[in-house]
C-alpha cells in the first residue's frame, strides 16, 4: 500500500528529494529544495494536507448557535460553524450549484448561508433549504442530496477542532496519540479549560510553511541569536530563561509523530505567569500537574501545521509583572514560498478579566506580527525560501543541517526511562531531534504512510 503512491505524477528528481528527507535520522540533513519548490508544494496539498488532521479553530471562537468563521485546510475553503442544534461542523465552502464559495466574511452569525451567485440557501447545518423558482426550473432536484459537503472527519480535543480530508485516516485520538500528554499540560491545568481572546491575527510571510512549523518544534538554538535583543532587555525574565540556574529543559521527540520542547523549574512551583489558584488536579495526573505548575516556556508542533507556545514573559520589565499566555498557530501554505500565519492567544477561561487582558497584551507584544520576539523571526525566515528555490541552490543540492547535538555531535542523553511522559525524551533543548521528528513525519506523510511508525507496526 505504501509503494506506488509517490511515483504517480512525480518527477524522479522530486522522488529522490523526498527519499533523502526520509534519511534525516542518519544524515541529519535534508535537501533545502523542499522549502521552495512548486512540485513539492502541490504534492503536499495532495498528500500532507489531505491525509492528516489539520487544525480548524477553537470551539470558544464560535460559542453561540449560528456563529461561524471561514477557515482553510491546505488551500480548501471551509466554514467552521456551530449549527442551530449546537453541533460544531466543518463544511466545504462550495455551493452545490456551480460551486462558488458561499461565505465571504471572516466570521459572523447566521441561521442560513445564501449563495451570492444564484441564491441557493443552506441552513447552518449545511442542509439545502432554498432553491429559487425550484417548482419551475428544478422540479426534480432532490434537495436532500445537495447539502454542503462536510469535511470527511471532524473531531475536537479539549476545544481544539481538527478536520481531516481523508475518510479513512485514523481517528484524531489516535493521530494525536501519546502527544496528548503534552497538550494536556497546556490545556487542562485549569478547571474550565482555555478560551480564545479576540480573533486570530493573520498576516503573510514570504517563506515556506514548514519553516514556522519546524522552528516551533523547538529550535532553541536560534533564540540566543535571533532573539538576543529581546533577551537582553529581560522581556524573558533572566531567572526563567536559559541563564537561570534552576531551569531544566527537555526535548520531546518521536511522540506519535509530533514533538516539542519544555523548560521548567526543578525546585519551584508556579513559575509566576499564571495565577496560582487557577491550577486544578481534576484533569491532570500528579506528574502532569507537577510539571504544569513549573513550566516556564514550551513550544511544540502537531504535524503538519499546528503549533503552540506557552511562555512567561513581560512586555515592560520595569513596570509590569511576568505573565503567562498560550499562543497557538497555524502555518497555512499559500504557495511554495508564501505562508499565511494565523495567531491565536488563549487564556484560562476561569481567570479574571484583568488577567485575561494582561495575558493577551503580553502575548501580542511578544509573539505576534508586532511581537518583540517574533518580528525578528519573520525578518530571517524569508531568506531560507529565497536560497532554497534559487538555481544555484538547486544545482549544488544545497542541504539544511539538523545535526545539532544528535549522535556524536553532542551529549544529549535520552532520559525517556525516568521521564514521566511519553516520547523519546532528551535532557537538553539543544539538539535537533524535535525537528528531525517533524521532517520524518513529513517524509512518511508524503509517501503515504502514517506519520507515526509505531502505528504502522501495529497495523501490519
Amino acid at each position: 500500500m505504501v509503494s506506488g503512491g509517490t511515483n504517480v505524477g512525480t518527477s524522479s528528481q522530486t522522488q529522490t528529494v523526498i527519499e533523502e528527507v526520509g534519511n534525516i535520522r542518519e544524515t541529519g540533513t535534508i535537501p533545502s529544495r523542499i522549502h521552495n519548490d512548486n512540485e513539492i508544494h502541490e504534492l503536499e496539498l495532495e498528500r500532507v494536507f489531505s491525509d492528516t488532521w489539520v487544525f480548524v479553530g477553537h470551539e470558544s471562537e464560535i460559542p453561540e448557535p449560528g456563529d461561524y468563521a471561514k477557515r482553510y485546510i491546505g488551500d480548501s475553503p471551509f466554514i467552521f460553524v456551530r449549527d442551530d442544534t449546537g453541533e460544531v461542523r466543518v463544511l466545504f465552502d462550495s455551493c452545490q450549484h456551480r460551486g462558488t464559495t458561499v461565505v465571504r466574511a471572516e466570521q459572523g452569525n447566521t441561521s442560513y448561508f445564501r449563495c451570492p451567485y444564484h441564491n441557493w440557501t443552506y441552513k447552518n447545518t449545511g442542509e439545502l433549504v432554498g432553491v429559487p423558482h425550484k417548482e419551475q426550473f428544478f422540479k426534480e432536484l432532490d434537495t436532500c442530496e445537495h447539502a454542503l459537503d462536510s469535511a470527511p472527519q471532524v473531531d475536537s480535543y479539549e476545544g481544539l477542532v481538527f478536520a481531516s480530508l481523508s475518510a479513512t485516516a485514523p481517528s484524531l485520538d489516535e493521530y494525536l496519540g501519546d502527544f496528548k500528554w503534552y497538550l494536556d499540560l497546556h490545556l487542562k491545568f485549569a478547571e474550565g479549560g482555555m478560551e480564545v481572546v479576540g480573533e486570530p491575527i493573520r498576516w503573510e510571510i514570504d517563506t515556506n510553511w514548514k519553516i514556522g512549523a519546524d522552528n516551533f518544534t523547538g529550535d532553541s538554538y536560534h533564540t540566543l541569536a535571533t532573539h538576543k535583543s529581546a533577551m537582553d532587555l529581560d522581556i524573558f525574565p533572566p531567572e526563567l530563561s536559559a541563564v537561570g540556574a534552576e531551569r531544566t529543559p527537555v526535548d520531546v521527540t518521536e511522540c506519535s509523530g509530533h514533538s516539542c520542547m519544555l523548560a521548567y523549574l526543578e525546585n519551584q512551583e508556579f513559575a509566576g505567569g499564571y495565577p496560582e489558584d487557577i491550577f486544578t488536579e481534576t484533569h491532570l495526573s500528579e506528574s502532569e500537574l507537577r510539571l504544569a505548575k513549573r513550566l516556564v516556556s514550551s513550544v511544540g508542533t502537531v504535524f503538519p501545521n499546528f503549533s503552540f507556545l506557552q511562555m512567561n514573559l513581560n512586555a515592560d520589565p520595569e513596570n509590569r509583572e511576568v505573565t503567562a499566555f498560550l499562543n497557538i498557530r497555524k502555518w497555512q501554505p499559500l504557495g511554495p514560498k508564501k505562508t499565511q500565519v494565523w495567531n491565536w492567544i488563549l487564556v484560562p477561561r476561569d481567570s479574571s478579566e484583568e488577567f485575561k487582558q494582561r495575558a493577551y497584551d503580553t502575548g501580542i507584544s511578544t509573539f505576534s506580527v508586532a511581537g518583540n520576539f517574533e518580528v525578528d523571526d519573520f525578518a530571517v525566515w524569508d531568506g531560507i525560501a529565497e536560497a532554497a528555490g534559487s538555481t544555484f541552490g538547486k544545482k549544488i543540492g544545497r542541504r539544511s543541517n539538523f545535526q545539532m547535538g544528535v549522535g556524536e555531535m553532542g551529549d544529549a542523553t535520552n532520559i525517556s526511562d525516568e521521564w514521566p511522559g511519553p516520547g523519546a525524551v532528551y535532557d537538553t533543548n539543544f539538539e535537533d531531534g524535535t525537528m528531525q521528528t517533524f521532517y520524518q513525519s513529513w517524509y512518511r506523510s508524503m509517501t503515504g504512510r502514517p506519520i507515526d511508525s509505531a502505528t504502522e507496526d501495529v497495523n501490519e
Partner: protein, 168 residues
Amino acid sequence: MSERFELRLECEEFLFDEAERLDDGKLHEWLELLTDDVEYRVPRRVTRERGSEQSSFSEDGFLYREDMGTLTTRVERYDREYAWAENPPSRTRRFVSNVRVHDESDDEIRVKSNLLLYRNQGDTTEHDLLVGEREDQLRRVDGALKLARRTVYLDQTILATRNLSFFL
C-alpha cells in the same frame, strides 16, 4: 485667519513633525511627543458581512495595545544591533493627510487623519503599503501639543507584511 483654521494648521504641524521623527528613525524623540499616560492601540479589523450589527473592528483583538512603558521597551529594543527586524532598517515614508479637527476643549483636541505608509527594506524592490485612518487625542501640555491617545484603523484584515516592526 479663523481660529479653527489655525488650530488645524497646528495639529497638522504636530502630525507632520511626528511623522518625520518616525521616518527618520528618531524613536526616542518620538517618545517625547507622547504624554506619560499615552494609550496606543491598533485593533484588528474583521471582515464581516454588510449589515452586520457588529463593528468591523475587534473589541478584544489587537495588533498593538501599548502604554508608555511597553512603547519604551520597544524603542529600547530597536537601539540594539541585534534587533534583526530592523537590521537593515526599514525605509518608511508616511503620508499623513485629510487632517480633520473634530472637537476641542481647552486642552484636549480630537484629530482624525489618513495614513499611507510605504515600507521598503533590504535589496529588493518589494514593499509594504499600509493604509488606514488614525484617531488621535492631542493634549496641550505646557503650551505644546502631545499625543495622549491613538487608535489606528487599518484597512486590511490580513496584513501584507512580514512584521510590524515599526509604529503607525
